[in-house]
Amino acid sequence: MVMKIRTIKYFLGEGFTGIWKNSLMTLASIGTVIAALIIFGIFILFSTNLNYIGTQIQDEQEIRAFIDESMTAEQVQEIGRQIEDLAFVRECRLETKEQALENLREDLGEGNERILEGLDEDNPLRDAYIVKLKDIAYTREVAGEISSIDGIAVVREAEEAVDKLLNIMEVIRMFSLGIMILLAFIAVFIISNTIKLAVFARRKEINIMKFVGATDWFIRWPFIVEGMVIGLIGAVIALVLTGYGYSYTTEYISQNLGMFRLRQFDEVFEGVALIFISLGTTIGALGSAISIRKYLRV
């Protein structure tokens, strides 16, 4: 559709005037957008952090494969290659017994150096491969395969509790995805109803436009502009509120239950802003389009 510049100006002008004239209705619509987007945002941030914590757990989880002392350096390397060839192995790093001793010393901390005295000359520890997986759900299987490799003395794997925690997180994630979809529908419904009131208040105007020969799109655009601006304003306010709320909440959580790192708001800002603004304007435009349809049939 080719549109003249002055017509676009007219649409924008009418769209903005409409917002000003129906200010009470507009406030109600903006409020709905804000509420819907904030609830939406909470779920987005919640599941983002669940994912983040999930990757942290995944990251920390490792299998230690201790190598028999009788193995030569070449054999140790061969074992490493075999482990790397296994399915689901993301990373396989050799920790020599000297490094292991060093780590142990650090873990024990100052004042306890005596316990490890003399071990440098006769190190009782073993070389080990530290294996990280692409998906820790397969820990047991991979651990089993590693232990069947020749030259592996002992395999120590992740605890089962972590596995269960991850399962719970998966359930929560699916649940919040469902709620997110439901909320999107509710938001479109509420906004289309609110804009329906605005359209109803201006049905006389629409009727006049019809009989002086306005095309459907000419009538529709100002309302769509209005809906999109309402959505945009709502999105910006929701973004600011969500930002502050989120920053305070994460600060509180990391001070009081700082088990895991949480995402900082500036890390997720771009994504959330993009979702809020595109969702807000889409919901507004969609709501307008739905609610004006009926009045165009004259």
Binding site: K4, K204, V212, F218
Partner: protein, 228 residues
């Protein structure tokens, strides 16, 4: 030019509004449509505007095949028809000037054309001095002049007036009819549905009388002919 051939209209609730109407109105004619309430006057106007579609028959208005008009061309039919209603239908929060300019904006006329045409039309209907007022500051007759100005601003070939004097006192009504007659003499075809006996009898123009959805009379220089 308006041509109806064998036009019938039955509403979905079963009401028969028009039965086999044949009618030709030439370019530049002035025609009254009279008849009791419910005789089919409003339906006739709605069919011409394509607010309703005929159940049967063909309608041609200004070279538009109204019955077979695609939805996206309806606005262009309506731009070729000026319409005036009993209840004026002005936008209350726009000024007189804006109300008239509105009809031009809809056709995507340029700002320059609007600035030239709107004052000219307002002058023609005698409202040049009230351009900045809002409808509620005007008398009924003045409001009807505004709606006339709006109907004429796009130079339509046909003016349809649906009881334009219904809400006006007799003296003001005559002023409006004289104005419509002026417009007619400039070449615009006028179709005026009315209950105003004095006006119909006084004008001595073609009168089409509808009764029970059929044309009961069609007289050159006719009279109103009803007692109400």
């Amino acid at each position: 030019m308006i041509l109806l051939t064998n036009v019938s209209k039955t509403y979905s609730n079963g009401t028969i509004a028009l039965k086999n109407v044949n009618l030709y109105i030439a370019k530049g004619e002035f025609v009254f449509v009279v008849g009791p309430s419910g005789a089919g006057k409003s339906t006739l106007i709605k069919l011409l505007m394509r607010e309703e579609t005929a159940s049967y028959g063909d309608i041609i208005v200004n070279d538009f095949d109204v019955g077979n008009l695609k939805r996206q061309y309806i606005p262009y039919l309506r731009r070729s028809i000026g319409t005036v209603f009993q209840d004026f239908r002005l936008l209350p929060n726009k000024t007189v000037y804006e109300n008239v300019a509105f009809a031009m904006q809809v056709t995507e006329a340029s700002a320059k054309e609007i600035r030239r045409q709107v004052p000219f039309i307002l002058g023609m209907v005698g409202l040049a001095s009230k351009a900045k007022m809002c409808p509620h500051q005007l008398s009924g007759g003045e409001q009807q002049r505004v709606s006339l100005a709006r109907a004429l601003v796009n130079n339509p070939a046909v003016l349809i007036a649906d009881e334009p004097t219904g809400n006006l006192d007799p003296e003001t009504a005559w002023d409006i009819v004289k104005l419509i007659y002026d417009i007619n003499r400039r070449g615009t075809t006028v179709v005026m549905a009315t209950h105003a006996r004095e006006i119909v009898n006084g004008m001595k123009k073609r009168v089409i009388a509808l009764e029970n959805g059929m044309i009961a009379r069609d007289d050159e220089k006719g009279v109103y002919g009803y007692e109400d």
